[in-house]
C-alpha cells in the first residue's frame, strides 16, 4: 500500500489538483501537499497524492554517478590487462 512512483505534472487544474503522467498514462493527482507545483516538474505520487517533488538536478547527479560505475565496470571487464572479476 506504500507504493509511490515518480510522475510528470502535465496539467494544472487549480492550485491543488492536476494531471500527472507515467509511461503515457495520465492520472488525476492531488497536489495540495506540494508547494508551488509547476508544469513539467516531477513529483512522487502515492495514493493519488503528490507527496514531494523530485529534484531533477540531484537525480541527474545520481544517474551520472551510476553511469560512471557502469562504465568503470565495463572497462575493468574488457580492459587491456584483461583482469576482470
Amino acid at each position: 500500500m506504500c507504493l509511490a512512483v515518480p510522475m510528470k505534472i502535465v496539467e494544472l487544474k487549480n492550485d491543488s489538483a492536476g494531471v500527472c503522467e507515467l509511461d503515457g498514462t495520465r492520472y488525476d493527482v492531488d497536489l495540495s501537499l506540494i508547494e508551488t507545483p509547476s508544469l513539467q516538474e516531477y513529483v512522487i505520487v502515492h495514493a493519488g497524492f503528490a507527496i514531494e517533488k523530485l529534484d531533477e538536478a540531484e537525480a541527474s547527479a545520481r544517474l551520472e554517478l551510476f553511469e560512471g560505475m557502469a562504465q568503470a565496470y565495463r572497462e575493468d571487464e574488457t580492459g587491456p590487462a584483461g583482469e576482470g572479476e
Binding site: A4, L33, E52, E56, L63, F66, R74, E85
Partner: protein, 365 residues
C-alpha cells in the same frame, strides 16, 4: 521513464556488487557478520524482486523490519472494522487490508456475506462515497506510516471543510522513528545498521533521524527503492561499519530534504496529536502513533461508535512478530509455504505485497 530505468543499470549493479564484496571481505577479516535491517516494506519487496539478498556476501545479512503498515495492524483493529461492517456501515479501505485475518475472519469474509467494503485507490474516494450515500456512514480505515498519513489527513480536512457528518476515520497511524527506537533498545534484536525508508523520509526529512543516530550510534542510510539505490545504501552502511563512525547518510537526496515536506508536516500537526500505538506482533510502543486532535473527534470512528481496540487474538501459530523484529526469516516459520501462502494467508506478513513473508514466497520459489 529515465528516473526509474536509470536506477536499474545492470553494469552499475555489478560494480556495486564488487565494491560490497570488497568491503565485506574486510569485515570478514575481522570476523564480522553484519545484520542490516530494511525497515520499509517497499524495500523488502524490491530486495526480493531483484534478488539482492542472493548477490550479497555471506557475512552481510538483510533482515526485514516492521515497515509494512498492513502487517503491523492489530488483529483487534481488523475485528473492529469487521464489526462496524456488520453494523451496516460502509468500510472504505486500501485494498491490502481485505485479506488480513483479525482474530479469525477477514474483511473479505465480511464482504462475502453482504458487508459493504469499498476499496479505495486514493483515500479521497471515501469522500465521494459519503456524498453519494448521505444516509450511510462511511468509515475509512486510516492506517499507514508517515507516507500515507498526509494524504489521509487531507481527506479529514476536506470532510471537515465540506461539513460532512457521515464519514469517520478508524485511526491506527504509525510512526517510523519510535519503532526504530523500540527495536534498537530491544535486547533480543540485533541490528548493525538501518536502511531507512524512502518516502516516509520524504515527509519527515532526513534530520528526523539525527537524534536516533546520535543516541544509539547506529549507522543509518536513507535509500530509494530502485536496485541501485538499495545497493548504494548497503555499501554506505558497510563503509560506516568499517570506519566506526556511524552517521545518517541521505542517499535519496533527489526526493528527501533535510526538513522534509513542510506542507505535509503542518497539515499533520494541525489535525493530529501523538498517541501510543499497538504494533501487531511487537506490542505497544509509546508515542508511536497519531490520533485526531480533540476538536476533530467527531470524525474519530472509535469515539463515534464506541469501539474499543483491545483483545484481538490472532492465530498463535503465526510468527509475524519475530519476522518483523528480524529474529526469524519467513522460511523459518513452520507454516511458511504450507498452511500459510499468498492464497490463504495465516498472518498479515503473507497478505500485503510488501509483507516479508509474501515477498519471500513470491520471489524465492
Amino acid at each position: 521513464m529515465k528516473y526509474i530505468d536509470g536506477f536499474r543499470d545492470p553494469d552499475a549493479a555489478r560494480y556495486l556488487k564488487r565494491e560490497i564484496g570488497a568491503l565485506a571481505k574486510r569485515l570478514a577479516a575481522a570476523e564480522r557478520t553484519v545484520r542490516l535491517m530494511e525497515v520499509c516494506g517497499s524495500h523488502t519487496m524490491a530486495i526480493a524482486r531483484y534478488g539482492i539478498r542472493q548477490v550479497l556476501p555471506e557475512n552481510v545479512r538483510l533482515l526485514s523490519g516492521p515497515g509494512c503498515p498492513v502487517c503491523v495492524t492489530d488483529a483487534a483493529y481488523i475485528d473492529a472494522a469487521i464489526a462496524l461492517a456488520e453494523q451496516g456501515h460502509t468500510i472504505a479501505t486500501f485494498g491490502d487490508m481485505l485479506k488480513v485475518p483479525g482474530s479469525g475472519r477477514t474483511l473479505a469474509d465480511a464482504r462475502s456475506v453482504g458487508g459493504r467494503v469499498k476499496v479505495c485507490y486514493s483515500p479521497m474516494d471515501a469522500i465521494g462515497e459519503a456524498e453519494e450515500n448521505p444516509s450511510r456512514e462511511v468509515i475509512f480505515l486510516a492506517i499507514g506510516f508517515e507516507t500515507t498519513i498526509p494524504p489521509v489527513t487531507a481527506v479529514v480536512k476536506a470532510a471537515n471543510a465540506k461539513g460532512l457528518s457521515n464519514i469517520s476515520f478508524l485511526t491506527a497511524f504509525k510512526l517510523v522513528p519510535p519503532a526504530l527506537e523500540a527495536l534498537t533498545t530491544d535486547p533480543e534484536v540485533k541490528v548493525d545498521g538501518f536502511i531507512c525508508p524512502a518516502h516516509v523520509s520524504a515527509i519527515i526529512g532526513s534530520d528526523a533521524y539525527v537524534p536516533f543516530v546520535e543516541k544509539h550510534e547506529v549507522p543509518c542510510v536513507i535509500a530509494g527503492f530502485e536496485p541501485l539505490d538499495i545497493l548504494m545504501g548497503i555499501k554506505g552502511l558497510l563503509e560506516q561499519l568499517l570506519s566506526g563512525e556511524p552517521e545518517l547518510v541521505n542517499q535519496y537526496s533527489r526526493v528527501v530534504k533535510k526538513e522534509g515536506n513542510k506542507a505535509a508536516l503542518a497539515l499533520m500537526d494541525a489535525h493530529l496529536e501523538p498517541a501510543d500505538a499497538s504494533w501487531r506482533g511487537i506490542g505497544t510502543i509509546p508515542s508511536s502513533g497519531l490520533k485526531l486532535r480533540p476538536q476533530l473527534r467527531r470524525y474519530d470512528a472509535a469515539e463515534k461508535f464506541g469501539v474499543r481496540l483491545e483483545g484481538g487474538t490472532p492465530d498463535s501459530r503465526c510468527r509475524c512478530g519475530d519476522v518483523l523484529k528480524g529474529k526469524l526469516l519467513p522460511p523459518e516459520c513452520p507454516l511458511f509455504g504450507k498452511a500459510c501462502n499468498t492464497l490463504r494467508p495465516v498472518g498479515p506478513c503473507m497478505v500485503s505485497a510488501e509483507g516479508s513473508c509474501a515477498a519471500y514466497y513470491k520471489y524465492s520459489r
